[in-house]
């Protein structure tokens, strides 16, 4: 393939222009201020977006369909990477179909999600909104405590109100998924996540 010096310099200039365009795009800030809830076994966020090849395997193998794909709101760096939504499906890594092996991490080809001891994994921390909680408005409900797989992560007061112990929460989202309040009284936040 013959190429003159002039054409070569032109190519270099165009390459530099394309590179600058990409750099500008990378600087666009993410519209959403919060970090992303990642599947269990996720590596630190700075590596995650680079290791993840957006193959969709984790989404396909998840037995509860808890994994969604990030969109432009989550930042252009993260588009199409996996994120957990416990209102769609709870993550059964601590108790349930993935308690013995985390399927998403088992099949991830690039180890953006790594197999880990479930005692060492924390997806995030759950947060209660008492204004929406059925127990706080006098109904008989502590489904969150019934479903919670971690001993003493949720305790009940003598008035039958749930109390959440953030340091014990593993962020599986079972309580969020099963919370019968409409709208739900619980949200899962990425705070306190422990990454591989």
């Amino acid at each position: 393939m013959r190429i003159t010096r002039r054409q070569f310099i032109k190519l270099l200039a165009e390459g530099a222009a394309a590179l600058s365009a990409l750099k500008l795009v990378s600087l666009i800030p993410s519209p959403s201020p919060t970090a992303i809830l990642r599947p269990p076994g996720a590596v630190k966020e700075e590596y995650f977006n680079r290791l993840c090849v957006r193959c969709g395997i984790c989404l396909e193998v998840c037995p509860t369909k808890a994994i969604l794909l990030s969109d432009f709101n989550d930042g252009i760096e993260a588009v199409d990477t996996p994120k957990i939504d416990p209102t769609v499906g709870p993550c059964e890594f601590f108790r349930g179909r993935c308690e013995e092996v985390m399927r998403c991490s088992k099949f991830c080809p690039t180890e953006a999600l790594q197999l880990a001891d479930k005692e060492k994994v924390k997806i995030g921390t759950v947060e209660l909104n008492p204004d929406k909680c059925l127990a706080y408005i006098g109904k008989e409900c502590v489904v969150c405590d019934e479903m919670c797989p971690v001993p003493e992560a949720i305790t009940i007061t003598s008035d039958l109100l749930p109390i959440f112990h953030d340091e014990k929460c593993v962020g599986c989202g079972l309580c969020v998924y099963y919370c019968p309040a409409e709208p739900k009284a619980l949200t899962l936040r990425p705070d306190g996540a422990k990454r591989a």
């Binding site: 390459g15 957006r54 969709g56 989404l59 369909k65 794909l69 199409d80 080809p109 180890e111």
Partner: protein, 275 residues
């Protein structure tokens, strides 16, 4: 220039692309295979797109040892079959050809070979290198987004598994829009922008099944035919039998089908190698 008509071979290629879509849609549901053209797994073994592997390695500055073989296997397939994927399987490319058939206007001048040396086909190297450099220099991996088959298959799997439409549809529409507004030079996106396509053509060294023009039968010189080059979606200067240009060949067989004097033969191996 004649409006490109959809011929029999195009129809067959649409069928093979549809079968691939069907496979990628049904296999994960049945548990036979998971993933897309970015990376896929059969449980026991994995395959990964070598471009994705290079991007990962550059942006993380590490080499994932377990992926060397999967990446090399696919790279080897590309070395032998070249842009066959682009011609017979990539759903976006096939759809682009069909959209061209609808939107191409008679006013488009017959172009082809002379323009190949021009800016459109070389600029893609600048784009590909910029994408790789972005990964290396500032860890920006978002160009994963612009692998069209990955985008397409992800759109499908997201719909199959979550019933949702995500960012991928926007990217697909962007690709189609870019292609429509660009000047028509065959498969414009594939020829001028697609980083994956550029990567594949660079690797297609052995490139089985490519057109060879019998210079004695060819009437271009006398009658200024150039039918092959006019119909070639990759805008290859076919009559020149140029070994670099021929790396773009996606084996669509249009040149072979449209030559009025049947001067084109699809040869399997490059005769020059066998000397």
């Amino acid at each position: 220039m004649e409006k490109t008509k959809i011929g029999k071979i195009e129809a067959i290629r649409a069928v093979t692309a549809s079968l691939a879509v069907l496979f990628f849609t049904a296999a994960p549901v049945l548990g036979l295979m998971y993933g897309t053209t970015c990376a896929l797994t059969f449980g026991s073994f994995t395959l990964i797109s070598p471009l994705e592997l290079v991007l990962v390695s550059l942006s993380t500055k590490t080499m994932l040892v377990s992926l060397i073989v999967p990446g090399l296997v696919v790279a080897l397939i590309i070395v032998f079959f070249g842009r066959f994927f682009c011609g017979w399987i990539c759903p976006v490319g096939i759809l682009l050809e069909y959209s061209h058939a609808i939107t191409e206007r008679k006013s488009m001048k017959g172009v082809g070979s002379l323009d190949w040396i021009g800016w459109k086909n070389r600029e893609r190297y600048a784009i590909l290198l910029a994408v790789l450099a972005a990964g290396l220099m500032f860890d920006f991996a978002a160009p994963y987004l612009f692998s069209p088959p990955g985008v397409f298959y992800r759109t499908i799997l997201y719909f199959t598994f979550q019933g949702a439409i995500g960012a991928d549809l926007t990217v697909l529409l962007l690709i189609f829009t870019l292609d429509l507004f660009a000047v028509h030079y065959g498969r414009t996106w594939c020829n001028t922008l697609c980083p994956l396509g550029t990567f594949i053509s660079t690797l297609s060294i052995i490139n089985l099944v490519r057109p060879k023009v019998d210079q004695e039968k060819c009437i271009d010189f006398d009658l200024n035919c150039l039918n092959c080059e006019r119909t070639c979606p990759m805008r290859i200067p076919i009559t020149r039998n140029d070994k670099w240009a021929i790396m773009e060949c996606n084996k669509c067989l249009k040149c072979w089908a449209n030559c009025p004097v049947k001067a084109i033969k699809m040869e399997v191996f490059d005769q020059r190698f066998s000397k």
